[in-house]
Amino acid sequence: MSDERTISFTLNGSKRSCRIRPRVTLADLLRDQLDCTGVHLGCEQGVCGACTVLVNGRTARSCLMLGVQAEGVSIRTIEGLAGAGGGLHPVQQAFSAAHALQCGFCTPGMILAAVELLGENPAPSQAQIREALSGNLCRCTGYANIVSAVGRAAETLRETRAPEATSGPEAAGGSPAGGAENSRPEGAR
């Protein structure tokens, strides 16, 4: 019995459709069929946060969603975060500048959690940053630099978003203002 079904959704700004069985998690769909290997699978039981993606702009653990549940939604993974020219997103830029990654395994989830936070709260406190990242585990225990990177990204984004900002573009690493909303066409990787 083939129980495959066809689903259509938006992945990093591009329309996609594929055939999958219901038992395939969203994480496995993204990794195995759509080459989004930046979706890291740590625990596959909703504990580590490494597989975090944005579903309609909000973080979700892709190991706790089924691929079939992607029908009709918009998904953004770490692959869809950089600007069209390949310039890093301000949050990615800040992670690099603040040495916020060591082995890099938790990084995609951390960055997407930070993107959601900064979309809702442009000036988070240290405590709010820590709360927002609390569902993402880093086993290199590089939390201090991760928290400071998010604070740094918040500053950059505030400068680039403010209409009277004068020092935005170079700090944002060449990404246009509001880079969070930019998408890179599929296949540009």
Binding site: D3, R23, R61, L64, E131, G135
Partner: protein, 294 residues
């Protein structure tokens, strides 16, 4: 860590969903937010032959304030309640919602899913008991209204039948100026609570307690409303001694769990401390509510 094979249906109406549950009974599982069911599938602790995904039944996602009542559709996400920002949603409810897991979990997890899972440390259980909640369930046989006191039966066990879906949680709000608070303790942020307390206090014009609710989660095999603690509060003015008396009255009804007497004592102590904290916070808010009315 991959889910076992299962059939999958994502109906768009409640009627279709309850029909499927009626057909499959125990062999079907309702998939709401998936924040508990998906790990259970990954561990193969659950092996349903059919998953009934209710995420397309939009009518189940709602937050409505009606006279003296707050109605939460079963598919309402924790995060929606946390960020409701409405004066109609009491503080204890937003505080409880905000302490469930982590943001990504609250974005997906649902009120009804939490209730149906009946974890003894679930924040929604405390809210449900503290607001004399009624869990509304539907099956092909019709609608059933289950009072909170009868809903939580035991560890991961509720009064819900396999053929029923939770459609709504109705919370009854006090009809006089009231304050509320939720306090919990966990070893790490977002972990399952080792204890949690929701409290509601309504005060009369002379500042005496007219209505009190104290509900405890995480201490025993099921969440409980502590009526002895409430009785220790009603009729007297709220102060530190009243809070201590209420906290001291907690104990026999908790059905404490723990591998030894030390752990049980610890859980009792946590519940009592959280009771005092929640009551003090609720009393401060109730006091302000009375002042505003005057």
């Amino acid at each position: 860590m991959k889910p076992p094979p299962f059939g999958y249906q994502a109906p768009e109406t409640l009627e279709e969903a309850v029909y499927l549950l009626g057909q499959y009974g125990d062999d079907a599982k309702v998939l709401a937010g998936g924040q508990s069911l998906m790990p259970l599938l990954a561990f193969r602790l659950a092996r349903p032959s059919l998953l009934v995904d209710i995420n397309r039944i939009r009518e189940l996602e709602s937050l409505r304030h009606a006279a003296g009542r707050l109605d939460l559709g079963s598919l309402t996400r924790h995060r929606t309640v946390e960020l409701a920002g409405s004066p109609a949603v009491p503080a204890a409810i937003t505080e409880a919602a905000a302490q469930i897991g982590h943001v990504a979990i609250r974005n997906r997890g649902t009120v009804g899913g939490s209730l149906a899972h009946a974890d003894p440390s679930a924040e929604w259980a405390a809210v449900t008991l503290a607001y004399d909640g009624i869990i509304v369930a539907r099956s092909v046989a019709g609608e059933r209204r289950i009072p909170a006191a009868e809903f939580f039966v035991g560890y991961l066990t509720s009064a819900l039948l396999p053929t029923e879906i939770v459609t709504r949680l109705e919370l009854r709000l006090p009809d006089r100026p009231a304050g509320s608070a939720f306090a919990e303790f966990a070893r790490r942020h977002g972990d399952f609570a080792l204890g949690g307390v929701a409290s509601v206090l309504a005060l009369a014009g002379d500042r005496s307690v007219r209505h009190a609710r104290v509900a405890v989660i995480g201490a025993g095999a099921r969440p409980v409303r502590c009526q002895a603690a409430e009785a220790a509060l009603v009729g007297r003015e709220f102060d530190g001694a009243a809070a201590a008396a209420a906290a001291g009255a907690i104990g026999p009804d908790l059905e404490l769990t723990g591998t030894d007497s030390g752990e049980r004592r610890f859980r009792l102590q946590v519940a009592r401390t959280l009771t005092r904290r929640a009551l003090h916070a609720a009393a401060g808010r109730a006091e302000r509510a009375v002042s505003e009315r005057e």
